[in-house]
Amino acid sequence: MALDLRINKYADVPMEEKQRLFDEVTRDERFEEYLYGCYECGICVASCPSARFYDFSPRRIAQAVAREDVDLVYTLMNDSIWDCSQCFSCDRCPRKNSPGGLITIMREVAVNNGLSSAQEALEGYGRIVYKIMGTGTQVSPDMLQPNAFPDWGPHVKDISDNLEIWRRALPPETLHTTETGWQVDDKTIIELYLIWHMTGVMNMIQEVDEGLYEILVDVMEERLEEEGYDVTFD
């Protein structure tokens, strides 16, 4: 069994690189609303679900960023931030900090810069990203397959076996779909796709998952062509 017991396993990453990422976090327009200081009261940790089951602490995140401990922030950005549940229970901080908000920014920076930890965290998640970016709905009825949710028991197989007929047994007309959560207009999906392009999200995807990026571009550009769009991207 391999054990990595180095105190700082990212010691070989140049300090300039760690500082660059730290600066990217603090430059985010939301940053100053998310960090004011820390009483070290521990309320954020006490209310944090992830702290109960992982070696994770929202207080450690807030304090490391507040102390401008660039080295520790880099470590947390690689080893810790993906454990956060993003429930924002930590927002009950009496200093009005939002460790969950800081983590949102840190995750974005990790993805934007293609950190290997971000790529690992998103392994197995590509299908979900494809679904939301390509169809406009996050989960679909046909995802309910027994092999995908074995821990949910035989009930998933019941749904999977009866999916088509049970979807037709839903009175709202928009819910008869099986590949999307609801019926979404073609024009609407194209508008969503154009938003991803205009806001740089497609570049983020390319940074963390080149294969997923290629698939999304192929599928959506075919769709643009079918709908008669002639788009020039920057």
């Binding site: 985010d28 327009e29 209310s47 679900p49 992830s50 109960r52 089951f53 992982y54 993906w82 549940s85 993003q86 429930c87 924002f88 229970s89 927002d91 009950r92 949102t104 995750r107 974005e108 993805v111 971000a118 965290a121 998103l122 998640y125 990203v129 939301i132 406009g136 709905t137 996050q138 989960v139 009825p141 309910l144 949710f149 949910w152 009930h155 749904i159 007929i165 037709r168 047994a169 839903l170 009175p171 709202p172 007309e173 819910l175 959560g181 609801w182 979404v184 207009d185 609407t188 508008e191 969503l192 154009l194 938003i195 205009m198 806001t199 740089g200 999200v201 983020m204 995807i205 963390v208």
Partner: protein
């Protein structure tokens, strides 16, 4: 652990005074209307007639009664569709006009909180595109998902405080040929159910007084922009949100307290999809088992997609490991629909839920076998091709 009786006593004894003049936060309404005056955006007004409710610091929030544009939820529509169906059914029951749009995308916040493969500008543009689509119809957005609701409130706050973000998103919307329009209020469907609770009670046909429930308020409903959340001095002394509890009490359900009410459900956004061991453990050990031990409820009632899913689906594995679980999980819209006589399978679609809920139905005086047979009979018409879809008219029988 503090006995729940002690916590309940404290909640009743203590009172939070809701005084808008002492609110520590700015009033969002003042700012969005000021920005409208300055030509920054249009504000879509809540259509009349509307109901008025009080938020945390005693400010008034307008809740539209009808002419609503239903901003659907990914998880509800995809995996627990009776949740959304019940919301529509309630509107139809009262004869209210609404739109169930197909020109609507997800808020995409589930993915954002799970993978961070997005950014503030994209999130705001998605929100404003949906709001523009609603405004084009003249109907008012009613947000089904707790995360969409919380995330849109966050997005609104960012747009209010960043002229650069407004400029960027306004430009994107213009290139899509859309207006830059923001709703006067961001309203969650459960706030509509709460506002309608007296009308629901007046039309109630099923006695619910034998039912004991525990309530799980969704994190993204009451922890994000907490000042824009319904509080009521008559419910928990305005110490915590009145949402769900107010509705259940109106229809006679016995709402029991438990010590971990503030804890999240364990959904975790990415965890429910790729690290479900965490979600299962938290949902059962910190929520369901605590509820069972302290309150022994017949049902857990909540008001968000992820909470219903996590609290319900997680119980199968926990039961297999001998944990003390087995409490059905429903939404407030489903409970309200049941109180008004809705069919448990044709309307509530309870067969999409996991934890055995037949005992709950039986306790309410509903024969689950008979109800299931009625649903299967309706399915026969779809199977033999005499009918393509189950219709709203079919739910009336």
């Amino acid at each position: 652990m503090i006995p729940s009786e002690t916590l309940v006593k404290q909640a009743k004894d203590r009172q939070f005074v809701q005084d808008p003049n002492k609110a520590p936060t700015e009033d969002i309404h003042d700012i969005i209307f000021q920005l409208e005056k300055e030509g920054e955006w249009e504000v879509q007004r809540v259509p009349e007639p509307y109901m008025e409710v009080k938020t945390k610091y005693g400010r008034i929030k307008k809740i539209p009664i009808e002419k609503t544009w239903h901003h659907k939820s990914c998880g509800q529509c995809g995996h627990i569709p009776g949740y959304s169906t019940s919301i529509f059914w309630l509107n139809r029951k009262f004869g209210y006009d609404y739109i169930d749009p197909s020109d609507q995308t997800s808020c995409t916040a589930w993915n954002y909180y799970a993978s961070a493969t997005s950014n503030a500008a994209a999130q705001a543009a998605v929100a404003m595109r949906n709001f523009a689509a609603a405004a084009e119809t003249g109907y008012y957005p009613l947000i089904h998902c707790g995360t969409s609701f919380g995330h849109y409130k966050e997005t609104r706050m960012q747009l209010i405080h960043s002229a650069e973000l407004r400029r960027q998103v306004r430009d994107i919307l213009a290139r899509l040929g859309k207006k830059f329009v923001i709703p006067e209020e961001i309203v969650h469907y459960s706030e509509w159910v709460h506002a309608m609770r007296d009308k629901i009670q007046e039309n109630q046909v099923r006695d619910m007084s034998m039912i004991r429930a525990t309530v799980h308020p969704a994190c993204h409903y009451h922890k994000l922009i907490t000042e824009d959340v319904i509080y009521d001095p008559e419910i928990y002394g305005a110490q915590r949100t009145a949402i769900i509890t107010g509705t259940l009490q109106a229809i006679g359900v016995d709402v029991a307290d438990y010590s971990t009410w503030y804890d999240c459900c364990g959904f975790g956004f990415r965890h429910i999809l790729v690290s479900r061991d965490f979600s299962r453990s938290f949902a059962t050990q910190r929520k369901i088992e605590v509820m069972k031990k302290e309150a022994n409820p017949d049902v857990v009632v909540t008001h968000d997609t992820g909470c219903v899913t996590t609290l319900d689906q997680s119980q199968f594995a926990a039961k297999a490991h001998g944990h003390e679980v087995g409490v059905p999980v429903l939404s407030d819209s489903q409970m309200a629909a049941l109180a008004l006589g809705a069919h448990p399978y044709k309307v509530l679609q309870m067969h999409w839920h996991n934890t055995d809920n037949t005992g709950l139905l039986a306790k309410m005086g509903i024969d689950p076998d008979k109800a299931w047979a009625e649903f299967e009979k309706a399915l026969e018409k779809l199977k033999d091709g005499s009918q393509q879809y189950l219709t709203w008219e079919d739910t009336d029988g």
